[in-house]
């Protein structure tokens, strides 16, 4: 197991990078705790795969260092790093049995047969592969094969970290539940450092203790799922996490409150005072889960109800404010939506966030 330090790490695929835009990965300093489950989350091209490849050793960073337990490994090849990797598609030997596949990394390292057997059976038990241990891999389905790939990643007790590169891509939604749950249980029992790359927020959020959100080669937030949801540090995090993402509105400030379309919207205590005076753009952000309709007799910002969509166990309501701005509310399936002509919106100050040039003010 290992703690991973990234020291002044940056990477450009160009020989002579001239500005920040030439970097696939902008400079970062992070310590990832031993035994933590980390997810690297972001859209294609955000740098998450580059970062994973730097940690695994497939890519040598152009600047900075990577340390495992305080030992520099920046220039070491993957096979000398004591890591295991699980890829998007199952990488297994079809002609071998499940048992031989799982034991392969151990056999390769010359481990005792009795140890291999014990270890393979432990891992198979955890992944629900015990029944098929002596079957050939060739006849198995994609999800079973991917379980074997995961098992091979987890079979060595001496690895510093296990890296997963979008491992659930080929898996059916209902199997994803089971595999994700297996991974989470394995993490709780084995106490391994796990690093998981994905573009799927649900996978990242449910798997990880800490999520590293990457955007344009930059880490825009590193936090717990709850922090990313409740306190997005950047408008991109607000947009990317949550479905639908955060509502944003341009605003100006007046006497401690935000003003949108001529309506005053209260912010949490002291937030307006912390806004930088030279900000080019001020925005209010509120999640569809926190925006709500006013109760009987309660004040609120008038809005028109445009659309109500039944999405099973919740509904998405689209409303338009006086200036044509569209906002979305996510509501329980059984909550009543007011009729269009007397809808009023309430922005709870605790959940109404102020952003200056895309960065969270408070």
């Amino acid at each position: 197991m290992a703690r991973i330090d990234l020291k002044e790490l940056a990477h450009s695929y160009m020989a002579m990078p001239s500005g920040p835009e030439d970097y696939a990965l902008r400079r970062m300093d992070h310590t990832w705790e031993d035994g933590g489950a980390y997810a690297l989350l972001g859209p294609s091209g955000c740098g998450k795969t580059t970062l994973l490849n730097i940690i695994s050793g497939l890519v040598k960073p152009s600047e900075g260092q990577v340390l495992f337990n305080g030992q520099e490994v920046t220039r070491l090849e993957p096979e000398h790093r004591n890591i295991a990797q699980v890829f998007q598609f199952p990488v297994i030997y079809d002609t071998m049995t499940v048992r031989q596949n799982l034991g392969f990394p151990l056999k390769n390292r010359g481990m005792e047969p009795s140890y291999i057997q014990e270890r393979v059976e432990t891992v198979a038990d955890m992944l629900g592969l015990t029944e098929s241990l002596d079957r050939k891999a060739v006849g198995l389905g994609a999800d079973e094969k991917q379980k074997i790939s995961m098992g091979r990643g987890l079979v060595r007790e001496d690895v510093g970290a296990v890296l997963f590169d979008e491992p659930l891509t080929v898996i059916d939604p209902h199997m994803k539940w089971q595999l994700r749950r297996k991974l989470k249980e394995l993490h709780e029992t084995l106490d391994l450092t796990l690093i998981y790359v994905t573009h799927d927020q649900i996978e990242a959020l449910t798997f990880a203790d800490k999520v590293v959100v990457l955007y344009g080669g930059k880490v825009v937030q590193l936090g717990t799922p709850q922090e990313l949801f409740e306190e997005p540090a950047h408008t991109f995090v607000g947009y990317f996490i949550g479905s639908p993402g955060m509502n944003f509105m341009d605003c100006r400030l007046d006497n401690g409150a935000a003003v949108v379309d001529g309506h005053r919207i209260d912010l949490a205590e002291g937030v307006a005072d912390r806004a930088p005076g030279d900000a080019k753009q001020l925005e209010l952000g509120i999640r569809p889960e926190f925006l709500r309709f006013a109760d009987e007799g309660e004040e609120g910002v008038p809005a028109n109800v445009d659309d109500i969509r039944d999405l099973g166990n919740f509904q998405i309501v689209t409303v338009t404010m006086g200036d044509g701005r569209r906002l979305q509310l996510k509501m329980d399936e059984e909550k009543a939506v007011p009729s269009s002509d007397n809808a009023r919106l309430v922005f709870p100050p605790q959940w109404t966030k102020l952003y200056a040039d895309s960065e969270l003010v408070g």
């Binding site: 059916d172 939604p173 799927d200 709850q226 969509r309 039944d310 099973g312």
Partner: protein, 364 residues
């Protein structure tokens, strides 16, 4: 046009891929084929398109039997998972290609390409090559090429599956706009229940080569005909528990007996399978009549806004989906609550015998 599959079967190398399937889709309708991998979604589409001939049964278009009429002779377009475009042609020429083959005038081609590109928000990319575009943009081009022809039948086989989560969300939001006011029949295959709900229209649920339910999408979700539908059209799948009704009341999932809810009133005594959606199992009671269920936690998954708790009680496994952050760990004791008004009951043959009352009017 109206398209019907009439008792269609497909057997490949002795293996049945589609069992006796009958389905009629109406002009201008949007139809989702929902099923897991290998459920028969692609096989069904290929039969509809005329790419494959059924082993038995008929394909009928506007009362005309077209079984065996090849795809070239039908007015059909297909969009695939992979982004298929001509790499050496500009986006304009890619979209225009089916019109050029149809020998349509240059002015009309230009007009139609621009119109379609505008609707799919790729007008600014018309001079680029596909290789210069992102995955989402490439799939928009493939879709524009399919749409520009005014086909009678448009088949889309998991078109968003290779896109990033957020792009997928954006495109499926737009999709209902794009297909509004079209006469074509659209058939859209997906494994994702949320995608089906967002797209709306009608949903046909496929399970291992069989059509198990077809109807208006929200209706199928809220009133699943059988247990297979509750497993395919719900993410996470509905909790299904063994239970029975006797003189002493209702029990399920190894719990205590209690008075059955009103909508179970007419059920005779006997064994049932009882269904409850994860979103209707909560950590705190919601009503006075909620039933407490005690169990042990396997794992809790926190998404930031909600928590999925996997727990077990005796032999029964439960998934709980509740708002907010709830921290639990392996082995923790936990009591969760079920409102009996939300229970479903299924009979011996897995078919629905009782479901929660009609939903309130606002969500219809």
């Amino acid at each position: 046009m109206t398209l019907s599959l009439d008792h269609v079967r497909k057997v490949v190398n002795g293996q049945p891929h589609i069992y006796d399937l009958s389905l009629t889709v109406k002009p201008g309708s949007f139809n989702v084929l929902l099923g897991l991998t290998l459920a028969g979604k692609t096989s069904t589409m290929r039969l509809m398109a005329g790419l494959d001939k059924p082993t038995s049964g008929r394909v009928v278009v506007n009362d005309r039997d077209v079984t065996g009429v090849p795809v070239q002779k039908r007015n059909v377009a297909m969009v695939y998972q992979q982004f298929i475009n001509y790499p050496a042609m500009t986006v304009f020429d890619n979209i225009a290609s089916p019109l050029k083959i149809a020998r349509i005038s240059k002015t009309e081609i230009r007009e139609r390409v621009h119109h379609e590109a505008e609707r799919l928000h790729i007008e600014h990319l018309l001079d680029r090559l596909p290789g210069e575009l992102s995955g989402g943009q490439q799939q928009r081009v493939a879709m524009a090429r399919a749409l520009v022809r005014d086909v009678e039948l448009l088949l889309m086989d998991e078109p968003l599956v290779n896109l990033d989560y957020k792009l997928r969300e954006e495109l499926r939001e737009e999709m209902s706009e794009i297909f509004r006011e079209r006469d074509s029949i659209v058939v859209y295959a997906t494994t994702d229940p949320m995608e089906a709900l967002t797209l709306g229209g009608n949903t046909a649920v496929l399970d291992r080569g069989r059509l198990v339910q077809y109807g208006a999408t929200p209706e199928v979700y809220h009133r699943p005909d059988s247990i297979p539908v509750t497993q395919v059209f719900s993410d996470p799948p509905m909790n299904i528990l063994d239970g029975d009704i006797s003189d002493d009341g209702l029990t399920f999932g190894g719990g205590e007996r209690f008075q059955p809810p009103d909508h179970f009133r007419d059920l005779p005594h006997g064994r049932y399978r009882i269904g409850i959606r994860p979103s209707h199992v909560k950590v705190n009671p919601q009503t006075d009549v909620d039933l407490p269920i005690e169990g042990n936690v396997d794992v809790a998954e926190v998404t930031g806004s909600e928590t999925f708790i996997h727990m077990r009680r005796g032999n029964s496994e439960w998934v709980v989906q509740d708002d907010g952050v709830h921290e639990y760990h392996l082995g923790d004791k936990l009591t969760v609550y079920v409102d009996p008004a939300h229970l479903f009951a299924f009979g011996d043959d897995d078919s629905l015998v009782a479901s929660p009352g009609a939903r309130s009017a606002h969500a219809a």
